[in-house]
Chain length 683, copies 2
Amino acid sequence: MADKDPLVVFTPSGKRGRFPVGTPVLSAARQLGVDLDSVCGGRGICSKCQIVPAYGDFSKHGVTVAKDALSEWNAVEQRYDEKRGLKPGRRLGCQATVQRDVVIDVPPESQVHRQVVRKAASARVIEMDPATRLFYVEVDEPDMHEPTGDLERVARALRQQWDISGIEAAFPVLAGLQKTLRKGAWKITVALHKPHEDAVPRLVAAWPGLHESGLFGLAIDLGSTTIAAHLTDLDTGQVVASAGVMNPQIRFGEDLMSRVSYAMMNPGGDAEMTRVVREALDTLTVEIAAEAGVDPALILEAVFVCNPVMHHLLLGIDPVELGQAPFALATSGALSLSAVEMGLGALSGSARIYVLPCIAGHVGADAAAVALSEQPGKSDDLVLVVDVGTNAEILLGDRSRVLACSSPTGPAFEGAQISSGQRAAPGAIEAIRIDPETKEPRFRVIGCDLWSDEDGFAEATAQTGITGICGSGIIEAVAEMRIAGLMDPSGLIGSAEQTGTDRCVAEGRTHAYLVHDGTDEGGPRITVTQGDIRAIQLAKSALYAGARLLMDERGVEKVDRVVLAGAFGAHISPLHAMVLGMIPDVPLEQVTSAGNAAGTGARIALCNVAARREIERMVREITKVETAIEPRFQEHFVAANAIPHATDTFPELSKLVVLPKVAFGAGGDGDGGGGGRRRRRRG
Amino acid sequence: MADKDPLVVFTPSGKRGRFPVGTPVLSAARQLGVDLDSVCGGRGICSKCQIVPAYGDFSKHGVTVAKDALSEWNAVEQRYDEKRGLKPGRRLGCQATVQRDVVIDVPPESQVHRQVVRKAASARVIEMDPATRLFYVEVDEPDMHEPTGDLERVARALRQQWDISGIEAAFPVLAGLQKTLRKGAWKITVALHKPHEDAVPRLVAAWPGLHESGLFGLAIDLGSTTIAAHLTDLDTGQVVASAGVMNPQIRFGEDLMSRVSYAMMNPGGDAEMTRVVREALDTLTVEIAAEAGVDPALILEAVFVCNPVMHHLLLGIDPVELGQAPFALATSGALSLSAVEMGLGALSGSARIYVLPCIAGHVGADAAAVALSEQPGKSDDLVLVVDVGTNAEILLGDRSRVLACSSPTGPAFEGAQISSGQRAAPGAIEAIRIDPETKEPRFRVIGCDLWSDEDGFAEATAQTGITGICGSGIIEAVAEMRIAGLMDPSGLIGSAEQTGTDRCVAEGRTHAYLVHDGTDEGGPRITVTQGDIRAIQLAKSALYAGARLLMDERGVEKVDRVVLAGAFGAHISPLHAMVLGMIPDVPLEQVTSAGNAAGTGARIALCNVAARREIERMVREITKVETAIEPRFQEHFVAANAIPHATDTFPELSKLVVLPKVAFGAGGDGDGGGGGRRRRRRG
């Protein structure tokens, strides 16, 4: 770089240097370490290296760029533009050469490490740095005088043309390599999988000529109830299709503990559950690929997040140890393995699988994925992240330290074990308000945006009917009953006399609140019973007790903010959650939803190899707290039974809503019955 | 080590050092780097570290060893002796401690790198250094307060107790690890596979407690006709069983080229051939394990050597490119892969496969194995190694350089395409002598040690009959005919008049020599026909021409010695081979047989990981010569058609035998007809 050579400034990186006249922009970018993509290695055929020269005065850079700063369009660019079309102002970085001082912008889609903005509320982005990448190579033809194998000549081409050494080939690729080379006239595109810095690059696919149909990966959130998959373009990071199926293991048990029991009671039961979930994954793979119009053979990676029991059943490990203390995992570390050895046949035969590490026997790879997505360890203030499901995974932390536990909330939050409960589906009540004066309810059902007291509601819901209450609906119902004075802090529902409304009806020795009587239209009579209240109390007490245990461990009495994760978390009303005492008292605006954070964590790990090392490190550093053996968990659990809480004050909540001081029990303040005794163990 | 501390001298290594009183012998050995085995890590349960203290004056070492030089027998040794018996004079190195100056012998069976003497004539030994080894570990029990996976605690135990870091687990082992740990009460033996220095140690098996049923590997020579396997104890290096089966691919074609043709002509034909050979390998594995009384699940490694076509068909690669110039291999490098991905189900599910590298498109991993076994590159004199089979693989070299080629001899040397030819089996003539005076033959058949002119021959062969001539028999027959003057240098058989014996009978326009007429006993009439002579001439010319081509390339006119490899090589008479002009002229005592050198090479690679690196390096350094494109090959081939040779003199041979100057052709010295034209291509 002589002083009189033209100056080249790249934006947005700001990297700059002087290069001799005639240097291709791609070469200049490479020498400066500018993030400019190329699959064909500068041969003018892949078009990945598109750049935008900027003309005029740039005082910021101290450069004036003349119109002839780059070479004229050449034949390669001309041909490319005719065939494919080049956006106005764009040049191919490998063809355009530097003639004078120039400022060159690298648009996001030409960056290897381009950033993908997540759809979720959070502004966090995924930086693309996938384990599998494409390389176009021109391979020497075989020569009898120097007899090396075709694979060895591909390896030499990668060494010479891409400075990549010591590859090894996946077995299925080896079988097809000779045909591919000859079909491509010794010009091929290879996909190399390099899952970490020190890994030997693995040849996982090869295509004749320049491969342009993309490269895909699956981010899979394998839940006890639902398997959700995102088919992701490993080049752009875009999700090209999402799909979910029910986990077919449900027929062996709705919750995890019943599946563990099934494995314990039935010899071969674990293998059977492994078989059905792998079949479901294969089916899901075929369907999601078809939906996106993608050949499943182009799916070269899959990343899994799941709870520990699903983790073991996916891997073909008997989960029996997870059903009893000390809840020992067969392996807690991250796993990198082949789709074939995992028994997944629908992906490419060379596809690689990455399973996130588990945090502990009850805190799985799904919780690790939430940690990767929500990054409590990078939070300046103290954040509580709660992934609400059948088990709640709870993370508490900031830059100094992160703690984790799981808490056995049971399935009440998902509408199970609730008298009128149902899964979130059209017809289910998902939101409810009770007038504090009249004690009359109004509600909304899934599939209709109208409230039940608005015009047209009956017509709009005629199709679905009003079929029950889903998880978010029951939380709101119980909280609203507390706000409206229909239920006292101990959780006891008052009688019609005590509450002044006929909607409080006697049911044996307790009372229930009538939300909707659909019997005239042939629908169900939907009530919130005393039993429902107890089930919700058990669930919310477990959740709150888990959070408090982490706060104890951390030595704090309050947290700065709360993040609700999980698909369900997205639908919980923060105010109602706080009235219920599910979560600690924080300013309401400090309660946010992270959506399906576990799924997002899976996508991050799929798109960025460094994130895999990051979560492996994070998991090692997380302080694990086992709720099952902490005596204080039981104390916190009992204290949290009251609504919102027996002893903890909720000052932020009281700024928003005044909870009526009512008491319907014999003594006027009963604890409401046996929460501790009836508490379920995990599941 | 203080000056006044006792001196410990180990034999045979001669390593010595001073150690504090009370140091266990095993610890002293480890500190000095003495090769003393231990699986249990010094816990007194594996008995691998047995040593023999020597008492008395050792002027060589400058030591006098008193009777109390080592500690008294302790309870552990007592118990071991009672349960298992300790040979007289033996001690457990981990229990006996140093008390005074002592000389300690490490018997061969206590050495990790013990040497195994090969059965073959050569005095070379295999030094044990297998890729897979056993380690006994005591693993921490799971702890809820510190929730790590069982695998992670096994890894920690290996780190703490054996200084082995960063293991990864084979998938099938992971599934059974929890049960194994609990069954062994947290004491287990693991097998770790570490195929090279930088490899991540891979957990490939685990057993409760101390595993004492051994660890096995298969060395497999996968030939076109026969698959031979040696089941080898990976601890002792001993072959515990050997077995062979016919290669079932024979039904798709007897020789390699006809199998390549089958793959070309029949879509899916290559996959079919891959399937049957893998099935045969599974069957062979089950049989050989049963024969040795070994659980096939204990077979954790297999090493393959084979020619390039078998190599590709084993790996599931279409061999079509090997059927046409430039004979490009899909891959020439060594391969390390799992038995599962190779479709071999009879071995352990975690078994690892190593396939030796191929040298060139016609010079396979079998030739590489011969090079590993015979080490031409370590020879002080110039050695020619010939592996005789359907193709001959030829190596020429010494310390300065090694060259290799293959030559298309065709199947005549194996008795195929010979009128009375047959495979080597009971009843086949394997040796023959013709009286130069009477022209009468006498012979020996396989299955009987008597010559045909000895008493009792008829009775001894009544069972098998005299059924044909095998490969070594036809070579001797043709050579004897030349010595007896029944055939001239051009290969033409004389008439009864020309030779003076009625055994030379007319067959159309040519003559045949009657070896044995068994028609009276219902057996065949066995002759050597003019066509048989031509077939042998083609084969031996190809072999000699290949050797000469390497000699040209090396710039020499003679070699110092010849090694005949291959099962067939073991049966060839060196004198007759030289009369025939199969091999260059050398002193007869310089022609030796190496037996099944390819199989030995496979065993070496199985037992010693360093040997794998060695052959990979050797193969890279070998000068490859392609006979198919060398014009001089054709010249050498034509000149070698005469018996022993048209132009080369055989001075060493002429010291032993005077070949009669006869000529039976029209011109008296005819070349004998069209060897060059009728030459077959490879097969």
